[in-house]
Amino acid sequence: MRSNGAVVGTLTAMVVGLLLALRVSADVAVVDDSGTRISLKSSATRIISLAPNLTEILFFIGAGDQIVGAVEYSDFPAAARKLPMIGAHNRFDVERILSLKPDLIVGWLSGNPQDGLQVLKQLGFPVFISEPSTVNDIVSLMERLGTLTGHQSEAVQQASNFRASIDASRETYSKRRPVRVFYQVWEQPIYTLNGDHVISHLIDLCGGRNIFSDLEQLAPVVSLESVLARDPEVIVGGGIFGQKPPWAERWESWPTVRAVENKHIYAIESDHIARMGPRLSEGIEALCLVIDKARDNS
């Protein structure tokens, strides 16, 4: 009896000890968006960012000075422009990445070349692959990157602020009268987005209705006639917020469209709305504002 108790006691101690040891040694571990478990011995201090939105997120959660290299167009915040450039998101310079001796690489599944990511993994670097497609995804991404970079509490706080700001927009606008919205991604040919795209969800959040939400393709090319037929009340596209966009002129030839008749053609900063990062909340504010303007003419 006594020997059994001793055995059980020793085993328990061993298991507890093992668990404690495991917890200490796998100090920093998260699962990335491709299902891979990324575990680091300690917080990452030399980070390579392979997408502009990831650079923005890293700065947002307080890990900006831990970035040692970023891809082209990592232009926000201003400090990001001073980071060593390592190529483009779809064609980056592996040699330069190697020479910067990173301890964490943050990549983007649909934007980075699969080959490139594979090579980096084969060279032994921890590669965190992201693919955020909703606001919740961005929040989760912020929190997980916070864990990897030693800014967990700050990241959780910032992510929570981010979500609150978006919720505030939803509160204000989503119950208002629905407005038919045409979101123009590109002018020639006319690219728009279907209902599965995150921007379409944001239009819903603002109380708008994407006139092309029923289409199959995520970013389809549509004809001019189909836009005329669906008669949007507001046309939104990329440009400088507050200024008349250069592509507006083309629409002015079609006054049968309600948006043209009532002069509801607006630009919002595409970097805000198209980058899955912290400035999405600003993008949403702008989007909801312009959609709301079209509500005045009921």
Binding site: M85, G87, A88, F92, D93, E95, Q114, D115, V119, L123
Partner: protein
């Protein structure tokens, strides 16, 4: 058409071959030494001796060397395929892709990309596409007498146009994020993996076969009838050349997507220098094509570093003025 082999000619050829034989390792050495990061060779040697890892060693042996080896194999394959195509079709405008092989490879590769299959299958699909395209051309252009150059060329051009239309179609229906990958492949670029045994073997086998067939190739250029009368089995020879060129093109597109100009321009350059005798032209074109692409690949990743340019773009920048210059100068020995 007679081919002179004067003593002076042979000596000159000797120098040229010596130069090219030296050019190959030199170009590889340059390519491995230059890049966006200066290499500390002391650290490389240290790693080789002691096994302690260093960034410099990794860059040289795991990044630059495989890419340079791929560049050589692709350049050599395309140059040799170009020589074969120009002899087969008796047309100076022929290049490895003229029969639609790169188009077929591209279409199969794009299908794999669109379907979302693992990217490893893209290379395989490209090789399959090249072979299928070749088979189609062979099948469609055959008539009772075999394959005349004209029929081959016309069938090939039409196939190439057809593939081109399919490529445009796929690009137009694909998603934004897929297009990136597709354009990357279509512009031609090297991955960081090196060539495999199958690539080396294919090049070697076709090279040896081509050299053995050199006499036949020389006579073929004078015309099928003439060659037949001089004892060449033209049907067999031309079929073999077609297969050989097709396989080489498949190797090239598997390793590097569609890289243009090398297959067209290098045979012409070497024909100006060593003459049209295929016994000389084949090894010369192979070595020159390989070295040229090794240097071009190095330039693509160094010239605007850290911006990386697609290799296919650099070969065009180099190939277009070079080819125009050659055209203006005129060849010393015309192709019939």
């Amino acid at each position: 058409m007679l081919i002179f082999q004067t003593g002076r000619d042979s000596r000159r050829f000797g120098w040229v071959i010596l130069f090219l034989t030296a050019l190959v390792p030199v170009s590889l050495a340059i390519s491995v030494s230059l890049g966006s990061i200066p290499i500390d060779w002391g650290a490389v040697v240290e790693t080789i001796r002691t096994g302690k890892s260093s960034v410099d060693h990794t860059i040289v042996f795991e990044l630059r060397l495989p890419r340079s080896a791929s560049a050589f194999v692709v350049g050599a394959s395309l140059a040799l395929a170009g020589v074969l195509m120009q002899a087969l079709l008796r047309n100076p405008l022929a290049d490895p892709y003229v029969l639609g092989t790169s188009g077929g490879a591209a279409v199969f590769a794009l299908i794999v990309m669109l379907s979302g299959l693992a990217y490893q299958f893209v290379s395989l699909a490209a090789a399959l596409g090249a072979v299928v395209s070749l088979a189609l051309v062979i099948f469609l252009s055959r008539d009772s007498g075999g394959w005349s150059s004209t029929r081959l060329l016309l069938t090939g051009i039409v196939m190439a146009s057809g593939w081109g239309a399919l490529i445009s179609f796929f690009l137009s229906i694909s998603q934004q994020n897929q297009i990136q990958g597709m354009l990357f492949w279509l512009m031609g670029d090297f991955r960081d993996r090196g060539p495999g045994l199958v690539h080396y073997l294919t090049l070697l086998v076709v090279l040896i076969a081509s050299i053995f067939a050199s006499r036949g190739l020389n006579l073929l250029v004078a015309g099928t009838l003439k060659a037949e009368s001089l004892g060449v089995h033209t049907l067999r020879l031309r079929f073999a050349m077609l297969i050989g060129a097709g396989l080489l093109t498949a190797v090239a597109v598997t390793l590097a997507g569609a890289i243009g100009f090398v297959g067209l321009v290098v045979p012409h350059i070497m024909r100006l220098i060593v003459g049209p005798d295929h016994r000389r032209l084949i090894p010369a074109a192979l070595m020159m094509g390989g070295s040229l692409l090794v240097i071009t690949e190095m330039l693509a990743r160094t010239v605007l570093a850290p911006r990386q340019l697609p290799v296919g773009v650099i070969t065009a920048f180099v190939g277009v003025p070079l080819f125009l210059y050659l055209l203006r100068r005129g060849s010393r020995q015309e192709m019939p």
